[in-house]
Symmetry: C2
Subunit: 365 residues, 2 copies
């Protein structure tokens, strides 16, 4: 097998040993005589998987007992609606920080439910950035404050989180479990699994139970966090195979050591940004330096040092793809280039990309 | 490997060759140098999978072009809310046939959204049954009529579908693609994939596009069918691996021949019901004969011919499990026994169960 370097933004690279383990036990799952794909979600074999996934997350993220760990469906996009439906109580308002494409979507859905104060807006800023902490004016009595910890498309990341009086709600889809943070600083955290946690089709929600308890009556059952808290995410059939892979990925994080991965993530990103900065303006990062994401490194090519060239970027993507670097095209909404380097992305792949970039510049600069 | 007979109601048995195929290509998907689990949902390799899944369903179910084929998340339970949010327009009402546990849940969610007429109710009938066609009094001008084609828990199934003036909406989770029907008789069909189509985590929705177009403005984006119709189910990241398995399962149905499977399904169920009826009252089916499900065969044990014995049923389940028949326990809400025998369940397993039942009766009757 010739495994390529996979810079996809999500679904994204997974640890090879996790995929190999899943392959080994795919047909006969741990001696049950059937695939886990065929196992009832009420069966003992699946139950062990489900509970291991929760226990691993509790251990790795230090999730206290007064927070529920839920496995839902529908992605972060469904959470954009579910959060205000549950937490934006009648007569209150919520603060939203609009830091990019994903935050904008969260704002739009919340506005359908209730009163929203966009307390900062850098969504259209070029270079991309997260609003500066000191500019945030929180609304007294807000139901919650919503942020997007890492803008996957813009490649901008909060480097520290605000201390808020209202519960802090964070979309951590693209950087959960990639760096240290304290769950207790948040009221609710959510993340699509398909970046650092597993495959697509599972949405992790970590929610302080007392917040969920205050939701209005009469919500659609599946959109009420209480349903899933009470049933331990087994109210209806969960995405069992995705949760199984999440259990394997978190088991791998435990084995490798989360601190080692956190350190490695910083180093991988630093090496790539250093190469960009050392290119004399041929490559330029699209985010301001203090907000550069360690997960999604976004950059463009300026062949003449002044104007970005879509044509040259196309050439870069084509030649990179041919050389075994997949997924380097920027998001279709913004263009440019993007290297997503999540937990499972190997450091060697960053070094090889840096060498490829230098070579590309030599030929085209 | 000792593969057991898997009578689980869902997630349920899948064709062995599908699982083996998935195993073979799990680490390096069709020469892409990565697992499909790691592939972007915008990549060519996944695109082919996505479109094959849709094309296979269109061909096998004869879905006309004016119907959309959608892959959503959240299971039938989410559709219970999404359907009235989209189709139960202000000022109208919807007819619901309450035929059991699943229909009851659909009714409950619809009532949160708008006016619901329960036009027939057999939910608590023992023996379990579907309301007789001639008793149905449809409401003139209803927005739609909702039925549950097969009650997985009760083991009762509509043997023919009503002709309705209002669009007919059907939860076909547990019998889609198991027998012939005409999509054109329906306005919307939905099904969790985890019975006849694939693993859990994918919900199939087949909807007449003009109905979806009439939905109110301002719905949560993810709960608006139009979002997914316009984006071909790629508005956000879909459950890619589940859709891949659905593509493989439908490919298998095409290979085996749907007519062969439909015939085999009738024969498997007939053999099992015949064994129940020939037991002299030791085993008794829980549904009235004219509504007996070909997918979920529900029955109980009457050791003395008069009273069902939970103790004897426990013994049956324990001994059956030990003998390699898994998942025969009835749903926790109703007890008793249930043999789910979907498309992928092998006929030999039915014959072996029939033999096991005769032997069990000999020892305990």
């Amino acid at each position: 097998m010739s495994r390529i370097y996979n810079f996809n933004a999500g679904p994204a690279v997974l640890p090879l040993e996790v995929i190999e383990e899943a392959q080994r036990e795919l047909v006969d799952f741990r001696g049950t005589g059937m695939s886990l794909l065929e196992s009832s979600h009420r069966a003992k074999a699946y139950d062990a998987v489900h509970n291991e996934a929760i226990a691993n997350l509790r251990e790795l993220l230090g999730i206290p007992e007064d927070y529920a760990v839920l496995f839902l469906q529908g992605g972060a996009s469904t959470q954009f609606s579910m959060i205000p439906m549950n937490l934006l109580l009648p007569g209150t308002s919520a603060d939203y920080v609009n830091s990019g494409s994903w935050a904008s979507k969260a704002v739009k859905e919340a506005q359908k439910v209730g009163a929203v104060n966009v307390i900062a807006n850098t969504a259209k800023d070029i270079p991309t950035r997260i609003p500066a902490m000191e500019t945030l004016k929180f609304t007294p009595g807000a139901a919650y404050v919503h942020i997007t910890s890492n803008e996957t498309i813009a490649g901008a990341q909060w480097k520290a989180f605000p201390k808020t009086e209202a519960p802090l709600v964070a979309d951590m889809s693209s950087d959960i479990l990639s760096r240290p943070f304290d769950v207790k600083d948040f009221g609710l955290i959510y993340a699509g699994a398909q970046k650092n946690l597993g495959p697509s089709g599972v949405t992790l929600v970590i929610v302080r139970k007392d917040l969920a308890e205050k939701a209005p009556a009469g919500l659609p059952t599946m959109l009420d966090y209480r349903t899933h808290i009470e049933a331990n995410s087994l109210y209806n059939t969960p995405p069992t195979f995705g949760i199984y892979l999440l259990a394997l990925v978190t088991r791998w994080v435990k084995k490798v050591g989360k601190e080692n991965l956190f350190k490695q993530n910083v180093e991988k990103a630093a090496r790539l940004y250093a190469a960009i900065d050392a290119s004399g303006g041929f490559f330029k990062g699209t985010a301001v330096p203090e907000c550069r994401s360690d997960m999604n490194v976004t950059f463009r090519i300026f062949p003449d040092g002044a104007n970005a060239s879509e044509e040259m970027e196309k050439k870069f993507v084509a030649e990179a793809t041919a050389a075994g670097f997949a997924g380097l095209k920027g998001h279709r909404s913004v263009g440019g280039l993007r290297a997503s380097i999540y937990n499972a992305f190997p450091p060697q792949g960053v070094d090889d990309l840096v060498a490829f970039m230098a070579d590309f510049q030599k030929k085209n600069g």
